[in-house]
């Protein structure tokens, strides 16, 4: 479906990588998506459950419009998209050229198993003699050297772990499809020269390496080594530092002179480490410390071997590069004794806990202690492990762990029917996201999760295999409590390989190692054309990563568009297929005998007879998995002139992505081609009863044949789209969205209810990191106003809208009452919100009580001079984080820190007290919290049950707060009391939502389609949300969201016409009783009742063909194309006929 010139490389195929890749692919760009790991999905592969639903839901990221271009099954199992080339086990190793025209070099790690041929039968696993810890289960279980990197992938291919493989060759021998090639010869050709004056060292190394399949030569002195080197053929030199005569460094220098590309690894004792390090400066690649650990030595050589072979390097040109390499979890073992991790088996990281709890984990989902498989009764979560810790170079908050732990605690409660005691030890519970606060309260109130505000120092051995935590509670009482399991909420770190990537890209990094981005952007680096996506940019949960990934895709898209990509098409949308609508069904079946293997297991003659009896034409082929096999099948099918095609092969999912090509080749629309899995009935281990296998295969095939015979041959319709966007709200989010879309060449109408653009930006003068919102406002507004594609409608309101994605008609009312009607394909709602007016703490009674915005404004105008102040008190969470406004406004803690630091900077003597509940200094904001503490701002925690008291008398304010630690009241008499009152959504949101057929949540913020996976979309297709109308967020966060929303909108705007899915619902109006049950049942909001025509209408683009409507309809007035009752009946008949 690629229809635009321009392509991008996305590095990292976790959530954010997939999101960025999909965003660009859906827009029509070609994307190469690579990942170092042998499977896709990043961290999410290992997580079964996600907040807030405590389910998965990743599949919701898949395209809704034009969904046939991508896979439509569980995304954790894998995915494909026509415009995305996916390369697993692949690294980016070179970038040259310039933005829009990068030459990138990729390196593929060989998996030794041909994925095209591997049918996942597991024959190799049964014979593999090696067992190693399985990283998928965080080392809690073991696997073989040939294994499935992600056990639930579909299709799933085995890979060989070369480090663990003993090269016995058994797997090669038993593989029924010849998919495994261990490349044993190549290894033998890899010659290692070992140079050491001690014979015992040389001998043992030789033995280890030869066992590992390498060729080894030895030299006992530098001179001998150089002589052997001069004969050539040596791939790697293992070189002792300290030798009599010519020492290691000298040999190194000479050797490198002889062979400048020679790979050299030094061998050293502790005493000469410094020399070894020096040697690395003159060309050694690495060093090994004596005494040697044989495993580490062999691993190092294997590693060098693989790097040197440069297997499967590939170069090509891309316009933009998106780095979505994700994050690494802090490894507690990397720091000295973090909470007894690795000392006690029952101390696990949050990811390990996740695997422990998983149905595919070591205990099948039962909560048992890793050490002794005893039932777990008490679990403690320790927060901020590797985060918020200056010792560990982590002056940041990892942002995700609080929610992660609450989720894990809830799951423990649910899995155990509330029997497990769950305690979370924390410093601040950072529930700053949408609905996080209520989630936390639910955990505490409804599930009895204990929240203990205390950081634990260390984990010690307790009674009966338990672990003991000693801690002081908030009131100073000491406790020593035993737990069965301690879960370390490990924070985020830049991922492994960041150093290389940073160097490769030439991008600067923050002191903690994250990539630096430009002001007011989380995705643009200083290096043009290179963007960061998702958590790789630092410290984000799924929802924010998805938003961020959209923003990165948007930035890349803008660049590609500027390169002329966006508007010029390079390929046709749809190939021409034969019109078969009027022909009677004629089904041809091509069956793969798997090179005779299947033909031996089953009676293909009988099967063919059976199918022929049903009126099918049957062809037998061999190895349809190979190019030649498929070509051969195409040829016979083309010649048969059949108008329905049935393929009998293995792994239907593999063919799903080939169907379009196949269809093109035989001129038949892919939805008229069906793939039936005939391999599974003959899997090894299922018995060799030939009659059973024959019966099962025949049954599978005749079912599919029946379905094909009854299929409605009308091809899916394409729908014309209006390529114009409507953006409601002229704040920074709205302006950013409008500009983003207009920059891509599409017309935008920007509607603003007030008389000027800019919204809240008018009230902000500084950001915490020192940038100027005013300058941003000025530049953005100017760009919007002069953009030829943007029509700004000031003092205008949306009063009506109808239609569906691609074809909305919306009516505006202008200030004078004049109306205007606009046709548009998408709508973005960016109507924002504002600072809440406080109702409490004496606001309004006295001039000395102001809000954070007011303080900022008064400071800016000089109405308040820091030098005149002696004492300022700020109260956080005013009117928020409790019902009815039970959410965190996310920006107030940052605002308080900003204003407090400003005051301290301009008057170091001013006393600033911040009364807070939990400082929401998430992500990199933490460093400002540290700064503020260091600057002497006094932070006093308060609890909702004992809020500060404010009294005013004669214009003077006194604030009394209870310090929970000392259990004492602290009386303050500030010159200024500043209230952080939080954000409320704009009062028009509700009405506007009604007009566009979308909803708001109970707090009045827009209700997105799905909090994590579709954060900028509404359930109603074609309508998007961004900015603080969706949820409170900072300027940069709002802009990122606006960019993500524009990017989603662009995927629709980028086409003149678009295709509905081949499987969609239809209404047989003559049968319909208009009970509207189907509307209720539709999870995509794709159905509505047209009262005027008294019919049920389906939005074909929004319909995802799930069939809920058909299920709920009693008389099949609602039907699903391709799955009509008659088809299913005949499939049932076919199935029963063969099995009885």
């Amino acid at each position: 479906m690629k229809n635009k010139r321009g392509s991008a490389l996305v590095v990292g195929a976790g959530i954010s990588g997939m999101r960025s890749a999909l965003d660009l692919a859906e827009e029509g760009y070609r994307v190469t998506l690579i990942d170092k790991a042998p499977g896709l999905g990043g961290t999410l592969r290992q997580l079964d459950y996600q907040f807030p639903t405590d389910h998965c839901g990743m599949c919701k990221m898949l395209p809704v419009v034009e969904r046939d271009s991508a896979s439509q099954y569980c995304l954790r199992k894998g995915f494909f998209h026509e415009n995305i080339d996916i390369m697993a086990a692949t690294e980016l190793v070179g970038i040259e050229g310039e933005p829009g025209k990068f030459q990138v070099t990729l390196r593929h790690q060989p998996t030794m198993v041909d994925p095209e041929r591997c049918i996942g039968c597991a024959a190799c696993v049964t014979v593999c003699p090696v067992e190693v810890p399985d990283e998928f289960n965080a080392g809690l279980t073991t696997r073989k050297a040939v294994y499935l990197p992600v056990p639930h992938n579909v299709p799933n291919h085995y890979v060989v772990d070369p480090a663990a493989c003993s090269r016995c060759g058994e797997c090669e021998r038993v593989c029924p499809t010849g998919a495994i090639d261990l490349q044993l010869e190549a290894r033998k050709a890899f010659k290692v020269l070992v140079v050491d004056d001690e014979l015992v060292v040389r001998d043992s190394i030789k033995e280890w390496l030869e066992d590992a399949g390498f060729q080894v030569e030895m030299a006992e002195s530098g001179v001998e080594a150089l002589e052997k080197l001069s004969q050539g053929g040596c791939s790697l030199l293992l070189l002792d530092v300290k030798m009599p005569g010519m020492d290691g460094v000298e040999v190194l220098k000479n050797a490198r002179e002889m062979h400048p590309d020679l790979d050299v690894v030094m061998m050293t004792a502790y005493a000469t480490v410094e020399t070894a390090v020096e040697a690395m400066k003159v060309g050694a690649m690495d060093y090994l410390m004596k005494p040697f650990d044989p495993e580490a030595l062999v691993a190092l050589v294997v590693n060098r071997y693989r790097k040197l072979l440069r297997m499967g390097e590939q170069q090509f040109e891309v316009g933009a590069i998106i780095l979505a390499a994700g994050f690494a979890n802090f490894d507690p073992a990397s720091a000295p004794d973090t909470y007894g991790y690795h000392t006690f088996e029952n101390v696990v990281t949050s990811i390990e806990y996740e695997r422990l709890m998983s149905g595919t984990g070591p205990h099948g989902g039962k909560l048992l202690r890793p050490e002794d498989s005893q039932r777990i009764r008490k679990i403690a979560w320790l927060q901020c492990v590797g985060s918020r810790n200056l010792h560990l170079n982590a002056d940041y908050c990892s942002s995700v762990c609080c929610m992660f732990s609450i989720k894990e605690a809830l799951l423990a409660k649910e899995k155990s029917d509330g029997q497990v005691d769950a305690a979370i030890f924390y410093m601040d519970m950072r529930t700053f996201g949408k609905d996080f606060q209520r989630y936390r309260e639910r955990a505490e109130r409804d599930y009895g999760v204990r929240f203990i505000r205390s950081r634990v120092h260390s984990v010690e051995a307790g009674e009966a295999g338990c672990l003991q935590l000693r801690y002081s509670d908030i009131e100073g009482r000491m406790h020593a409590e035993d737990f069965d399991l301690v879960v370390l909420a490990t924070g985020q770190r830049p991922p492994a390989g960041s150093d290389e990537l940073a160097e490769l890209c030439g991008v600067e990094r923050t002191p903690s190692g994250f990539f630096k981005t430009e002001p007011f952007s989380f995705s643009r680096t200083a290096k043009q054309g290179i963007f960061v996506s998702g958590s790789f940019g630092g410290l984000r949960d799924i929802s924010e990563s998805v938003i961020q990934a959209g923003s990165a895709a948007f930035a890349a898209s803008t660049l590609l568009h500027a390169g002329g990509g966006s508007l010029s098409r390079v390929t046709d949308d749809e190939p021409a297929y034969r019109d078969v609508t009027r022909d009677p069904p004629k089904v041809a079946a091509a069956l793969c005998s798997c090179a005779g293997d299947l033909a031996r297991a089953a009676d293909f003659k009988a099967i063919a007879q059976k199918l022929e009896g049903m009126g099918l034409e049957v062809f037998l082929t061999e190895r349809m998995c190979t190019r030649e096999g498929l070509d051969e099948a195409c040829r016979v099918l083309r010649e048969s002139r059949a108008n329905r095609v049935l393929l009998g092969a293995c792994m239907p999912y593999v063919y799903q992505r080939k169907l379009k090509d196949l269809g093109k080749s035989i001129g038949l629309h892919p939805f008229l081609i069906e793939v039936a899995d005939i391999r599974t009935p003959a899997f090894p281990g299922r018995g060799e009863d030939r009659a059973r296998v024959t019966r099962e295969i025949a049954s599978v095939l005749s079912m599919a044949a029946s379905r094909l015979q009854g299929i409605d041959p009308l091809p899916p319709r394409s729908v014309p789209l209006s390529r114009r966007a409507l953006v409601v709200g002229g704040g920074i989010a709205g302006m950013t969205a409008a500009l983003g879309i207009a920059e891509h060449g599409y017309e935008v109408d920007l509607i603003e209810r007030s008389e000027k653009l800019g919204g809240n930006l008018h009230r902000l003068y500084r950001t915490l990191d020192g940038w100027s919102p005013q300058q941003l406002l000025e530049q953005t507004a100017a760009a919007v106003n002069k953009h030829p594609h943007i029509s700004v409608h000031l003092e205008a309101r949306v009063v009506h809208s109808e239609g569906q994605v691609g074809r909305f008609v919306t009516t505006l009312e202008h200030a004078g009452g004049a109306g205007e009607t606009i046709e548009h394909g998408v709508a973005i709602l960016a109507t924002g919100g504002s600072e809440a007016k406080p109702q409490e703490y004496g606001y309004g009674q006295c001039d000395a009580i102001v809000t954070q915005h007011e303080l900022e404004d008064q400071l800016q105008r000089g109405q308040v001079a820091p030098g005149d102040l002696t004492s300022v008190v700020m109260i956080q969470c005013v009117g928020s984080r409790e019902e009815p406004r039970n959410y965190c406004s996310r920006v107030c803690c940052a605002a308080a820190l900003k204003n407090a630091l400003y005051l301290k900077e301009h008057n170091p003597h001013v006393e600033v007290y911040i009364l807070y509940r939990d400082m929401m200094a998430y992500g990199f904001l933490e460093s400002y919290y540290t700064q503020a503490r260091r600057a002497g701002v006094v932070f006093i925690q308060y609890q909702v049950a004992a809020k500060p008291r404010v009294e005013t008398a004669n214009g003077a304010v006194t604030v009394t707060a209870l310090d929970p630690l000392l259990q004492r009241e602290i009386a303050l008499s500030p010159d200024l009391l500043v209230l952080s009152s939080g954000i409320v959504p704009s009062n028009g949101n509700d009405e506007l939502a009604g007009i566009f057929g979308v909803t708001v949540n109970r707090d009045g913020f827009y209700q997105e389609a799905e909090y994590k996976w579709r954060p900028v979309e509404f359930l109603r297709e074609g309508v998007f949300a961004c900015g603080i109308g969706h949820s409170p967020r900072s300027i940069t966060e709002s802009m990122a969201m606006a960019e993500a929303a524009s990017q989603r909108a662009l995927s629709i705007l980028s086409r003149e016409r678009t295709m509905g899915g081949s499987i969609t619902a239809q209404v047989r109006h003559s049968l319909c009783s208009l009970c509207q049950l189907c509307i209720e049942a539709c999870p995509y909001g794709a159905r509505r009742y047209d009262a005027e025509d008294e019919v049920i209408v389906i939005d074909e683009l929004a319909c995802q063909g799930c069939g809920a409507c058909a299920a709920v309809c009693p008389n099949s007035a609602s039907v699903l194309r391709g799955y009509r009752d008659q088809q299913l009946f005949s499939m049932l008949d076919a199935a029963l006929e063969e099995l009885f």
Binding site: R388, M427, R453, S458, S472, G476, E911, Q941, L966, A971
Partner: protein, 187 residues
Amino acid sequence: MTVQTQNGPHEAPDPLAAIGENIKACMQCGTCTGSCANSGAMDYTPRELWRMVQLGLSDEIFASKTFWLCSSCYFCTLRCPRGLPLTEAMAALKRLAIAQGKWKEKKSTKFYLTFLDNVRRYGRVREMDLMTRYFLSLKNPLTPMGFTPLGVKLMVKGKLSMQLPNLFSAGKLDALYRKVREVEGRS
């Protein structure tokens, strides 16, 4: 009880301020307390003590015995997420208490002062002399009894240096001590 914070930046610098400066970044997470082997014997936990330092509750701090109970094991310092020099701050509190004569803990203070005097005199510790002077300084005839058994044991083993006290000549490190006092007095 209510804590009144003093408004006004222009008062004399609080002697506690220097210590407060070092632990300003403390966020009362409680890590220190969790590790403190002696917290059970303390009247305020370290977590509370640092809070009191932040709030400038000088009188109560020096009335407490918390910092005297610090045995310098450095566990708290090791794991303080803010990297604060907590053990040093405990020592600084001892120092301040001694300097201001706010010693509730007579034994500790006397011991430290006697010890350093011993070093000033001889350059190295002369244990017999040190113990004799320490017990004299306590002016408590019963205190030495607590140590007698060990002292006797040590003497029997010949482990106490028996060099005779040199009461009248100048001390070995007089000059160095004098200079330290001079430099410290300057700031």
